[in-house]
Amino acid sequence: MKDPVVAEHPADTGDTGVERGASAAPSASEAPIPPTQEAAAAKAPHVRPGDRIFRGLATGSGIFIVVLIGAIGLFLLLRAVPSLGLNNANFLTSREWSTGDVGNMRFGILDLLLVTVVSSAVALLIAMPIALGIALFLTQYAPRRLARPFAYVIDLLAAVPSIIFGLWGLLVLGPQLTPIAESLTSALGFIPIFAQGNVSIALSGTIFTASIVLAVMILPIITAVSREVFDRTPVTHVEGAIALGATKWEVVRTTVWPFGKAGYVSASMLGLGRALGETIALTIILSATAKTFGWSLFDGGATFASKIALAAPEFNDPRSAGAYIAAGLVLFLLTFLVNAAARAIVAGHKEYE
């Protein structure tokens, strides 16, 4: 029954069709002129000096940074390879780390990898929902006058040096967490992650403390990026939802969240990247232990970065330094993978727009 209606349209618009055709004709005859001029300009050697200088500078900077990163990677690899050759343990699966006797080095990254990934993952688990809440509050619920200063305070959190977070975690937060940690182990100790750890809970130098400090440290970056993304939800979509009779929460659910979801996930990946590489705060907080990681939040240990930072005295010998450089390379690859994942998610997001 609708077909006749559709069929009528060409007939109805016959006049406008003629008009459009007529208006298109002059522009078509004009069109060839500019391209020929442009083509002539392209062939002519009239490139202005400013253009040439700027292009040279920009290209040079681009090449420089690529060469620099390549050189760093190559240097790390060249320094790591000899030490890997001297390694008497499996680098990827061993949990040992003894590089003091350079004649018999035994080192593997498994323990470092596990402690790094677990502490960062727990930090992410804590920070993600809180950051989401803050970002939605700032963009959707907070009055404009409050949102700006509030966002500024969150950004300030990102400017706090990691050493301060480390001291705070060790001296202020840690002791406060001890009773909570003790009640968790006694009540839920039968679950491996809450089991009694390999360091003293009373000293609070556990992955538990470290993860909470890391969560606070990555909160600002996740919040700031998510807030930007949520803020860019097209007004037309929001108004469409409101006009359909959506409540505030329904507007968030039908427009803001679908639009900002990918951005939020990639913001979280950025936060994860920062947590994985965080050095000084964890060096201060985590209690060293000779025992291996036993999948408990109340274990101590070391991450890639904190292990390397603590080993500075061993760097005078290139053979033991090379072992740490090899561990650093693995950390570099790990953060690279996380960032690549974040980029892939953002790229997928572009199709949506």
Partner: protein
């Protein structure tokens, strides 16, 4: 279903800015009323006050009353969300929800209102898409995203979404300004059909469009930049375009304005 609208002594503000002054207008049911006038004269603002969208802007304020069949939608006991569920709105730029399928877009309003019955949702989707003259074009791809349609189809999808909840009134804010002439005609034909069931208010910059689709036309104007917009006159469309009572109206529709 279709209800009459009575606007009485409406004053609209954005913060301290007095945007619209003393507008009173009556819109009969099953009738198309067109709002015309120069940019900034407040016609869209008045339209947005009819479903309480005006107050969504920060600092926006409303004085006066808007009655739907005698009931003031600005009464303190009235929930603005409920008002918007009974008054449909179509915007200048087509705005289907990009992550939703065509069908989910159409029934989005019903879902918000709590309808979960799948069979009922399917029926409403088909009825609304037929009502918006879009069914034949999309019936084979109801599960594809709404953003994949052409601009004109997207706008008809938005109309389908608006009429799916069986609103009392349908508000249209320059619904054709982003569309080509063929899609515009499709929408105009649709407005004429929808008039049988709904009270329609349409804002348009296209005076030929106002003349083609509306029964009654309201002309808005403003004395100068920073001055509030006012309703100059409202009358039968035929009279406004042939023999308006105000000189300003005649100047505007004959192109002698400004």
């Amino acid at each position: 279903m279709a209800k009459r609208i009575d606007v009485k002594e409406l004053n609209l503000y954005y913060g301290k800015f007095h945007a619209v002054q003393e507008v009173s207008i009556a819109v009969p049911p099953r009738n198309v009323t067109a709002f015309i006038g120069p940019s900034g004269c407040g016609k869209s603002t008045v339209l947005r006050s009819l479903n309480r969208m005006h107050e969504v802007a920060p600092g926006a304020r409303v004085e006066g009353s808007v009655q739907l069949d005698g009931e003031d939608i600005y009464a303190s006991s009235v929930d603005p969300v409920q008002v918007r569920r009974t008054i449909g709105m179509v915007f200048q730029r087509p705005n289907p929800f990009p992550t939703m399928s065509i069908k989910d877009n159409v029934v989005a309003g019903l879902r918000l209102a709590g309808t979960k019955n799948k069979k009922q949702l399917d029926e409403v989707a088909e009825r609304s898409l037929r009502g918006a003259n879009l069914w034949n074009e999309v019936k084979d791809r109801l599960d594809r995203p709404g953003g994949g349609l052409s601009g004109g189809q997207q706008q008809r999808l938005c109309i389908a979404r608006a009429i799916a909840v069986q609103p009392d009134v349908l508000l249209m804010d320059e619904p054709c300004s982003a569309l080509d002439p063929i899609s515009t005609l499709a929408i105009e034909d649709l407005i004429t059909e929808l008039k049988k069931d709904f009270t329609i208010v349409i804002v348009t910059h296209n005076m030929q469009q106002a003349a083609r689709v509306s029964d009654q036309t309201a002309f808005f104007n403003l004395n100068g930049v920073g001055q509030p917009g006012r309703l100059i006159e409202v009358d039968d469309t035929e009279k406004i375009f042939s023999n308006p009572s105000q000189k300003a109206t005649e100047d505007y529709i004959s192109g002698r304005f400004g």
